[in-house]
C-alpha cells in the first residue's frame, strides 16, 4: 500500500532526479542516461521511503546499505543522494570533470554516500554479500540492498555470489535486477540470453519476485515482502524501460552510453518539465 503523500513525494523526486541525470550527462558530454533512467524510480523509492538512512551522517553504522553494482548508472545515484542532501545539488554538474568527486563510476573514497567502488561489472553482489555477512557477525539489523543490471548478470562472478548468499542464508540481503532488456550491443536475449531469469535465481536458492520497476507501490510492496523472507536472500526482478521518462530514449540502445545532443537535450528537459506540471496538476503543488 502507498499513501497519496508518499506517492506525491516519490513522483516529484523521481522527476527531479531524471532532470538532473539529463543535465549531468549533457554537461559531461558522456555518461549513461539509459540505464540511469531505468533505475531512477527504484533508487528514489529506496532512499526516500524504504532505507533507514541519515543523509546528515552517511557513515552511521546502523544504516541500510545500497551497492550500485551497475556502476554506470552513477548519475541517477548521485542525483538521488544530492536530492537527499548528502552533498550539494550544485555539485552534480561536475560529473566526469577533472577534480570532481563525481567520478564516471562510483568511488567510495571520493564521494560521501557511496558504499562501494563499482564500474567493472559483476562485482557488487559479492561486496553486498560481505556487508550482509558483517551485519550477521555483528548482530546488526541493517539491510543491504544491491542493484544489478540485467546484462551484468552474464558475469560468472554474479553466480558465484548468488550461491554464496543462499549458502550463508543472507536474508538481510535484497537484490534488484534492473531488467530493461537492453545492453550495449542490443537486446539481452540476442546478445546473451538470460531467460528464464526468475527460474535461474530461484534455482540458486533465492526468493524471487517480478515487479514493474516504475511502479512505486510495487517496489515498496516487493521490499516489504523481501524483508519478510527468512533464511535466504531475495531478488526482485524489476521490469523497466531503458531511458524511462524521455520519449526518444525509451527502449533505445542508442542512449545506453551516449548523452543527448543540443536539440535532444532541449526536448528531454521540456518533456520532464511537462511531466512535472502534470504532477502538479495531479497532486497539487510541488514537493
Amino acid at each position: 500500500m502507498i499513501d497519496e503523500e508518499t506517492l506525491k513525494k516519490l513522483s516529484f523526486k523521481a522527476n527531479a532526479v531524471r532532470k538532473h541525470v539529463i543535465e549531468m550527462v549533457y554537461a559531461a558530454g558522456s555518461g549513461h542516461p539509459g540505464g540511469s533512467l531505468s533505475a531512477t524510480d527504484m533508487l528514489v523509492t529506496l532512499y526516500f521511503h524504504i532505507m533507514n538512512y541519515d543523509p546528515e551522517n552517511p557513515t552511521w553504522e546502523e544504516r541500510d546499505r545500497f551497492v550500485l553494482s551497475k556502476g554506470h548508472a552513477a548519475p541517477a545515484l548521485y542525483a538521488t543522494l544530492a536530492e537527499l542532501g548528502v552533498f550539494p545539488v550544485d555539485e552534480l554538474l561536475t560529473l566526469r570533470k577533472i577534480g570532481s568527486r563525481l567520478q564516471g563510476h562510483p568511488d567510495m573514497r571520493k564521494l560521501p554516500g557511496i558504499e562501494a567502488s563499482t564500474g567493472s561489472l559483476g562485482q557488487g553482489l559479492s561486496i553486498a554479500n560481505g556487508m550482509a555477512l558483517a551485519a550477521k557477525l555483528d548482530r546488526k539489523l541493517y539491510n543491504v540492498f544491491v542493484m544489478l543490471g540485467d546484462g551484468e548478470v552474464g558475469e560468472g562472478q554474479v553466480w558465484e555470489a548468488a550461491m554464496f548468499a543462499s549458502h550463508y542464508k543472507l536474508d538481510n540481503l535484497i537484490g534488484f535486477v534492473d531488467r530493461n532488456r537492453l545492453q550495449i550491443d542490443g537486446e539481452t536475449e540476442k546478445v546473451m540470453s538470460l531467460e528464464p531469469l526468475t527460474e535461474k535465481w530461484r534455482s540458486f536458492g533465492w526468493a524471487v519476485r517480478e515487479i514493474n520497476g516504475h511502479d512505486f507501490e510495487e517496489i515498496i510492496d516487493a521490499v516489504e515482502w523481501a524483508k519478510g523472507i527468512k533464511g535466504r536472500p531475495a531478488m526482485i526482478i524489476a521490469h523497466t524501460i531503458k531511458g524511462k521518462g524521455v520519449s526518444f530514449m525509451e527502449g533505445s540502445v542508442h542512449f545506453h552510453g551516449k548523452p543527448p545532443n543540443d536539440e535532444e537535450y532541449r526536448i528531454a528537459l521540456n518533456e520532464l518539465e511537462d511531466e512535472r506540471k502534470r504532477l502538479v496538476e495531479e497532486f497539487g503543488g510541488g514537493s
Binding site: 553504522e61 551497492v67 568511488d107 567510495m108 573514497r109 558504499e115 562501494a116 567502488s117 563499482t118 564500474g119 567493472s120 559483476g122 562485482q123 557488487g124 553482489l125 559479492s126 561486496i127 553486498a128 554479500n129 560481505g130 556487508m131 550482509a132 555477512l133 558483517a134 551485519a135 557477525l137 555483528d138 560468472g156 562472478q157 558465484e160 555470489a161 550461491m163 554464496f164 549458502h167 550463508y168
Partner: protein, 312 residues
Amino acid sequence: MWEMASQRVAFGKTLVEIGKENPDLVLLGADLSSSTKTSFFEREFPERFFNCGIAEANMMGVSAGLAASGKVVVASTFAVFATGRCYDQIRQSIAYPRLNVKIVASHAGITVGGDGASHQTAEDIALMKVIPNMRVIVPADAVETGKAVRAIIEEEGPFYMRMGRSDVPTITKEDDPFEIGKATVMRDGSDVSLIGTGIMVSQALKAAEMLRLEGIEAEVINMSTLKPLDEETTIRAAKKTGAVVTTEEHSVIFGLGNSVAITLGEKYPVPVKRVGIPDRFGESGEWDALMVKYGLTPENIVSAAKEVIKQK
C-alpha cells in the same frame, strides 16, 4: 645447517594468535584451507571463517564488503588463483577503494612441484606490484612469515603476501626486527650485493659462502617487502659494492629484479644481473630438481655475481 620449517604452518598458527586478540579478524578460504593452513583458524574460530568454495572472484568481493563494514580480512588460496584469476576483483573492489584486505597466498613460484605449470605461478608479484595502493610482502622463512602476518594485519589497507608450498630453511631469528618496507642485511660484504626475496635469500646466503671460498666477499640482503621497495638500502648497497645480483623465485620480468634494476638505473647505475625464473612456463617435478632446471641455485647466483663483478 639450517632447520627447515613451513611458512604455511607459521601463517596458520599466527592467525590463531591474532584471532584471540582481534575479534574483527575474519578469514575467507576457497576450498584450500587445509593447504593454506587457515584451517587452524577455522577450528578455533568457526564463526569467523567462511569457505567461499571454488569461487575466488566472489571471495575477493566478499572480502571487500566485510572490510568496508569494519572487518580486517585475510583471504587465502593458492597464489596462481589468488592473483591471476582475481586480478580485476582485487583491482576494482579492494585496491581502488584501499580496503583493509590481506590476500595471503601459498604455493607460489615453481616449488609447488608436481602439480606443474597450471598450479605454479611466476607472475603473481608482477600482477600485484603494478596495482596502485597494493603492497607486496614475500617473507624469507617461517619465522619472518609470522612477523609479516602480524605487521600486515596491524597496518591498514590492502596487502599481497606470498608463501611457498615447501618447507624452507629458517635463516632469521625470533628477535630480528621486521618492518614493512625495510630490507635486512643478512651478511656483510664489500665485493658484490646479493639481493634476494623469499626462499632465494637462503640460496643467496649459500652462494655467499661459496664465493668466500674464492676470495669474494658478498653482502646478502633480504628484501622481504617488494613494494614499496626499500630504495635507500638498495642504493646504499650499490654505492658500497658497485655490483648487484637480484634473486627471486618469480619471473625475471617485473619482479624484484625489475624493481631493483629500475631503481638503480635511475638513481645509481651499477651492473645488475637478475637470477629468477626465465620467461617461460614451469612443469611437474620434484621441487629441488625444478630449482636446478629453472636456474634458482646458489651456483646460478655465484656465476651471476662473478659476471657483475667483472662488469664493474
